[in-house]
Symmetry: C2
């Protein structure tokens, strides 16, 4: 139910399929900011539905997608991108004519291809991707302000119904996001460099460090404040979500990774041949990009991300990670 | 001067050469925690000396290294590792017999090789490396608790005078660090994977993103919250310091980079051939390492590093970064 004093709801009945970090943040935000009258939660995992009921995140929670989406004005798929097609198939014939289907996937081309064949007549698909998240997963990890000040990219197909697009835009703006529209193809290229390849190299270096024989895992952990620990945050993201991202944005990821590798080879060569000027030039240039990100409010200017500095009593002898 | 109520000073006269982030943090900490009676600041840059006087970081500040180290019980070089040899040469013949020379360089083998030939008889060199920092530089960036709960690695040569080693250990423990001892060679290998290669790939991906023709710099900045922005923090670190690190730890960096590249090639192959299981396995394994780092107090458990979430009014249209 909408809170007192909230704005006019964007939709009457909102169905969210998948109550992980993103889905549960939408549920919390939609409730807090009065963006709908009724929220129905759908999750294939009964224990997630039970937790949704305990947390009071929705008016109803069900494992049955077809039942959950019935009568909804807006259905948002918040499942790993590899599962979007199967959910679309499961809800086929159950969505209300005139309703809108959307998603939050980090890949758009593959999701459009997987979902579109299952669309009922009279239902408009407006793909969306809120560029926000944390390294935590599940219904407990979400929070209402996750999308505040973050971008949400819509990739409506050409000629998409404008009322449907406006409904999805309204929801995201209501959640505090800044909405931008582009083609699914361009989205996948942009996100390959701003999100997918960064995750890939973070996962990769954490794996490389874990596998060394000459440096122990305990040493890697102890001395991680030299830079390594920054990478472990995104390398702690949900494994299923990220597996699906890479499998579903293969071409753009491999293209951007190819460029990354070329540049890294040039940098290795500069190190081998002692070309200090080339190194200094790059290291100076990269500072400007961060200044731009901070200036745009997409990053804190606090040193070290404003991380709380641990007190000495928090430190103890290393334990082998589970 | 030591603060009232502070512990017994570790040394009487402390000279710090180079008042950047690390040097100025040592000065602030030594003063706050009463670790010495007198602090002399040496910096080749007169404007840094002037700032040190304004901030009251030391009892005296001079551009003349030979003059600054005279009479000091402990001299700490806090200059880029490529400059350590030249400073050692400049202070040759000016250090007090029985005094101790130390440094804070991120590379140890090359610094030992550069400094040792210039050591006066009766002076002991105890190389040190506090594994701590932020992306900011200069005398204003330092703070007294920078080393609190962080490791400091000492690499004393075999047979080094134990009193001298204890003096350096005492200073770092007084600053709140946890001290560990290892060989210079092992240090350089450990730091190559926990710090140097992470910085290299961070600098590299920021450069790759800046150079794309298909994605604009403004798009990279806007959508950076998808992961990219994490890398820009360490890619905003001091260019001169990092140029010197790579030039002076070439072998270990190239060795670790070779392993990183092999692993990345395997990951790219898994993506190309759709091997979801290999991806999921790695992405699950990497979570454990972060848990270990958090458990050891080397990282916050707060989602997203506990970054302040920007309010919507902080966001504006992108400006081209300077």
């Amino acid at each position: 139910m909408a809170e007192a004093g909230a704005a006019e709801p964007v939709v009457d009945r909102l169905a969210i399929v998948g109550l992980g970090l993103i889905g549960s943040s939408i549920a919390r935000g939609a409730r807090r900011f009065g963006l709908c009258r009724t929220i129905v939660a759908v999750d294939a995992d009964e224990s997630v539905c039970a937790r949704v009921r305990e947390l009071g995140l929705a008016d109803a929670a069900t494992t049955d997608a077809a039942e959950g989406v019935a009568g909804a004005d807006l259905v948002i798929l918040c499942v790993p991108v590899g599962a979007a097609g199967a959910v679309a198939q499961a809800i086929r014939g159950h969505m209300k004519p005139g309703s809108v289907l959307s998603d939050v996937g980090s890949v758009k081309g593959a999701v459009v291809a997987a979902v579109t064949p299952h669309l009922d007549a009279g239902v408009t698909f407006v793909p969306a991707h809120p560029v926000a998240g944390t390294e935590y997963s599940g219904p407990d990890a979400g929070f209402a302000t996750l999308f505040s000040g973050r971008w949400c990219i819509l990739t409506p197909p050409e000629g998409a119904d404008e009322t449907a697009v406006a409904r999805v835009r309204g929801l995201w703006e209501g959640l505090g996001a800044i909405v931008e529209t582009m083609s699914a193809e361009h989205h996948d290229l942009v996100l390959a460099i701003t999100s997918h390849v960064p995750h890939l190299i973070a996962y990769n270096i954490v794996g490389t460090a874990a596998d060394l024989e000459t440096v122990t895992q305990s040493e890697v952990i102890k001395f991680s404040a030299g830079g390594f620990r920054d990478f472990t945050r995104i390398a702690a993201s949900d494994p299923t979500m990220w597996r699906d991202v890479f499998l579903n944005n293969k071409d753009a990821v491999l293209e951007m990774l190819g460029r990354f590798n070329e540049d890294l080879a040039a940098l290795a060569r500069a190190i081998r041949w002692g070309d200090g000027e080339a190194l200094h030039d790059l290291f100076t240039r990269t500072r400007a990009i961060r200044r731009g990100i901070v200036a745009m409010g997409q990053e804190t200017a606090e040193p070290d991300f404003g991380r709380a500095r641990p007190s000495p009593e928090q430190t103890a002898e290393p334990q082998e990670p589970r």
